[in-house]
């Protein structure tokens, strides 16, 4: 490995590290923002105090997650220039404006209304507060939409022309650039993944407190809601993933073949390889355990449909199969485990034992981090699967990086690792500490002091009329 540490590999490692760490936070905050919206909506509709308590409980956690998402996100907006300057020069005219729109439309919206959310419902009134919650949820979704649009353009580029400087520029309308072939599939798959990630985390927290206190109303409610999500959304996600896979097979066949470990063409239908160690050097999967025809059944919905093999494509466009073969399997296995948990909970619910089966709760706790692992595994699959290109089929990764020597990149990578583990490690510790406290009946509102990681609070003008604060 050490011998392979050229600047490009190091720059890729740095991007992978910073974006994976970053991705943990938005994948949680996208789901949590929507969850908070649902909780507050249900509270306003039913008047049931348990929703208000859960809202306040998760709002504290959301604020910390959101703050870390902001801080780690600032780093991402500069990584393109520091480590991938050749890419930035060439693709800037296309991806730059999309990212600028993300800042303009999403970041300021979130930063603004988060302040109102944190300021507390008793100070700003129900209507304005619920509106703010909805705006923050909308902001997270707008943000996801723009950045997925950027990523999808890099995966399935369209609507571009190449100018005399060798830059990718818009050929005409922006619509084909924003709405590329893989964009709708990727967006749906990613947003649902955030929802499932959140459901798993919420379910685990609920289960944890139920084990200790089966009568805790808040814990029961959050556990029940999370299990509904697992039962309903996990199958939808598997379906969405299937459709995304078919779309990828159409536009990036080499990626899918590497995910499947299909080196040889399969004229009579491809097998499904359950286990094996793919090797791009040998062009085969070692220790292969395979079920015949199932691969084609999944990818073509026909067991005998022919599939090409990686060997039908030039060797120099093969993605690193060993990585994505396994990251893909981890993601899929976790997806089915979520489905299993959902079905199990349905069974328990039907029997009226949802809050009683201890092993169900233990399983839910075990599955708590599964969403984060699955999201990162999925991200690795699609991003490493795009290799050896940054812009698929058009710009190679080896021609995208900055003219920075290996020592500089290595030192900065090390610095990122140390700082991230310290700063965000502490943050994750604080999050776990917040989650370890049970949701109480009289969950307090956030304290009226403005110390926090994110959000400005214009709603104070309302509070100015309250006695003692003017």
């Amino acid at each position: 490995m050490i011998a392979n540490l050229d600047p490009v590999t190091l720059a890729r490692a740095q991007f992978a590290f910073t974006i994976s760490y970053h991705f943990i936070f938005p994948s949680f905050s996208i789901g949590l923002a929507s969850y908070l919206m649902v909780l507050e909506g249900l509270w306003l509709k039913t008047g049931n105090g348990v929703y208000a308590n859960l809202y306040r409980y998760w709002l504290k956690i959301f604020a910390v997650v959101f703050g870390m998402g902001v801080v780690s996100g600032v780093v991402m907006s500069y990584q393109f220039g520091t480590n991938w300057s050749a890419f930035s020069t060439k693709a800037g005219p296309i991806v730059g404006p999309l990212m600028a729109y993300e800042v303009l439309t999403a970041f300021f919206l979130e930063a603004g209304f988060l302040g109102v959310m944190l300021f507390g419902i008793s100070r700003v009134g129900k209507g304005l507060h619920f509106f703010a919650t909805c705006m923050v949820a909308l902001g997270t979704l707008i943000s996801a939409t723009w950045i997925i649009s950027v990523n999808s353009w890099m995966q399935t580029p369209a609507g571009y022309a190449i100018n005399v400087k060798g830059q990718f520029v818009p050929a005409g309308s922006w619509l084909p650039i924003i709405f590329t072939a893989s964009f709708p599939y990727r967006l749906v798959h990613t947003v649902i993944a955030s929802y499932l990630t959140t459901a798993m985390a919420v379910g685990a927290v609920g289960a944890w407190h139920l084990l200790k206190d089966p009568a805790n109303r808040g814990a029961r409610k959050m556990f029940s809601m999370a299990m509904w999500m697992a039962a309903i959304v996990a199958p939808i996600q598997i379906l969405a993933g299937d459709q995304h896979g078919l779309n990828t097979l159409e536009h990036q066949p080499a990626k899918v073949l590497a995910m499947e470990g299909d080196y040889e063409p399969s004229p009579d239908g491809a097998p499904l390889i359950l286990f094996g160690l793919p090797s791009n050097d040998e062009g085969r999967v070692r220790y292969e355990v395979a079920v015949p025809h199932i691969g084609s059944l999944i990818l073509k919905h026909d067991p005998h449909a022919p599939l090409p093999g990686l060997k039908d494509y030039p060797r120099d466009i093969w993605p690193p199969a060993p990585i994505i073969f396994w990251s893909f399997r981890i993601m899929v296995a976790l997806g089915f485990a979520m489905l299993g948990l959902g079905l199990w909970s349905l069974l328990a619910r039907v029997r009226g034992k949802l809050y009683d089966w201890r092993w169900l709760k233990r399983a839910a706790i075990l599955m708590g981090p599964s969403g984060f692992v699955a999201v990162i595994a999925g991200w690795v699959t699609t991003e490493v699967g795009r290799q050896p290109f940054t812009i698929y089929g058009l710009l190679r990764t080896a021609q995208s990086h900055s003219p920075i020597g290996a020592p500089a990149v290595a030192v900065s990578l090390l610095a990122f690792v140390i700082v991230y583990f310290t700063a965000f490690g502490a943050g994750i510790f604080y999050l776990l500490r917040l989650m370890s406290k049970p949701p109480l009946a009289g969950e307090p509102e956030p304290q009226p002091i403005p110390q926090r990681a994110a959000g400005i609070t214009p709603a104070a003008s309302v509070a100015a009329h309250l006695p003692g604060e003017a």
Binding site: T89, A100, F108, W174, I449, I456
Partner: protein, 334 residues
Amino acid sequence: MAHVDLTIVWASIVGFAVFAYVVMDGFDLGIGILFPIFSVGEERDQAMNSIAPVWDGNETWLVLGGGGLFAAFPLAYAIILPATYPLMIAMLLGLVFRGVAFEFRWRDPRHRPFWDIAFSLGSVTAAFAQGVTLGAILQGIEVRGDAYAGGWLDWLSPFSLLTGVAVVFGYALLGATWLIWKTELRCQQRARHLALPVGVATLIALAAVSAATPFLQYDYWHRWFALPGVLLTAQVPLLVAICAGTFFWSLRRGAERLPFFMALALFLLGFVGLGISMFPYVVPRAVTIWDAAAPPQSQSFMLVGSVIIIPIILAYTGWAYWVFRGKAGTEGYH
């Protein structure tokens, strides 16, 4: 009006975003720089509270400045960032520590001393890195074939270190004057005592940078001192002298707001001076704004959104500052 140079428009927008960032995050970072001098407890809490509601919005301008540069001048973004690579990384890591410390110092009182140090070190690092970056750009960047062609320590020079120190002092001045305005009692007193030496240091650093800049390249000399331009450029140091005088006078008189606005004016004049030195280059003597510009389709696409959204953001930001117009207490605003 039929022909508007989009590149000039975008240079103004990015320049505005950078300036907005510098002054707004400048006082945040400045408070971080001065933080160790404030005593633990009430003084620090007041200082922190005076920026807690606004710093996140302030920092978003950094993303907008960087994002705007990337989108409207991709070539400049792709040259400047690799050329100042270690500085950018240091700045980002500093901002990470600074950013999480806001939340963590309050959430975890037992480790508050640690997060206070993180807040302070992060602020100093980010400010110094930004200042050195400015010097590195001014002294020139080696460019060949539309890419950075130098080594990874080319930015390091006595001049860039000088600009780094100047920005640290400048931000500290913004921070101190902000605290004079926004806090009271001991915290305000402390800030008042600090503002004088920090102000003197800022002016000395500003003078040193201004004196050194024209000698970096003949071109800068020419821009500043050739007739008839000198009649215009001479106004800049003149105005600096007036603002500096007003600043010391207002400080002596015990004014609460004027020192901050005079510090802002000094920054604005510094920014105008930079404009005189650099325009129309974005990487001096190598890349002009027109060389670096994204094609008109990209610039016009973003302009539509910016024209609608930036005023909303400004209005919103202004409102937030208005809401928090009072003095910051230890328990929040009152």
